[in-house]
Symmetry: C2
Subunit: 190 residues, 2 copies
């Protein structure tokens, strides 16, 4: 796989309890970390629009035809606005990879969803769908889910696009920008 | 000079005539293009606050003590909100470099300022202050002004932080982010 491939990383901005929506930021990068574009939209906090808004973001960018994968920081955005990665793959035909540093505590999440959402069963189903695979790194392991791509290829994309630490560069940078525009100064993840 | 030095690039977002303010984005990068932080604030369009807002952005970032230079895309932001680079150097003690791809047409600028601003003389004085030096590149030349640093060192910083084309990476990326958050998708400069 070439270091010149283009990857899109999408992350949401931190928000406060009084907010109704939050920013989401997409970063199109070459595998070697060279930034090509920044995409920007909004989603509802605890809403159901993250999947469709991300699908639009992916298909509307002028880099769409070149994208080899889209990366997310886990499968939730803007609180419990849960991503349907099956749908994103089906509607965009771009392989989807979600990356987390910790295995989600599904017992806690189930309780939180049950007590806050009438459609909690649908949200839990989305969250629990797909197998989570572990990738060992020089530092801590990371956990991924993926759609439209093999585990081997998904690992290759993550290894290729990680410069320091364990987080692939398009996701690390999307997180820095999202925090920066919402807080005035970003606080990166290592 | 090491590729690990930290440089801040600040650029403004595109705006429309009905806007009163516009976003400014700062990007702290290592010389090799590794992003450390994103800073965000607002300035008045055609106002007089760009200098003080940028001074705050520089001195308030937690990377302040490590910054080796701050780069701007020319000396105007948010229309004719003109940067006083002498003041920025004096108040922050960080060397300042402005970079442009074309030599400003001072005759046209004078006319525009005279017909729109009662304090046009002050704005023109700021704009014309300092000598503009040419740097030849493999592509087109660029023109810089600088304060608190020698021409040789300024050239070194620009060469070190330019990955492709002629625009130093912190400025190129600040521009991409600023356009992306204001327009939904960025349109980079080569």
């Amino acid at each position: 796989m070439k270091s010149e491939i283009r990857i899109l990383g999408i992350d949401d901005a931190p928000f406060s309890f009084s907010d109704k929506t939050t920013d989401i930021l997409g970063v199109v990068m070459r595998g070697n970390g060279y930034m090509e574009a920044v995409l920007h939209d909004h989603i509802q906090i605890d809403g159901n629009d993250a999947t469709s808004i991300c699908e639009q973001m992916i298909t509307r960018t002028r880099h769409y035809a070149q994208l080899k994968a889209v990366l997310f920081d886990g499968a939730t955005m803007g609180g419990f606005n849960i991503l349907d990665i099956e749908s994103i793959w089906k509607n965009t035909k771009i392989p989807v990879i979600t990356v987390t540093r910790n295995q989600p505590d599904f017992i806690k999440i189930r309780l939180a969803l049950k007590s806050h959402f009438s459609d909690w069963e649908k949200r839990i189903k989305l969250l629990e769908e797909g197998k989570m695979e572990k990738i060992s790194t020089y530092y801590n392991p990371i956990y991924i889910k993926f759609k439209g791509i093999t585990f081997t290829k998904a690992k290759e994309i993550i290894t290729l696009s990680t410069i320091r630490g364990v987080i692939p560069e398009p996701l690390r940078v999307a997180h820095i920008i999202a925090s920066g525009i919402s807080r005035g100064e970003s606080y990166g993840k290592a």
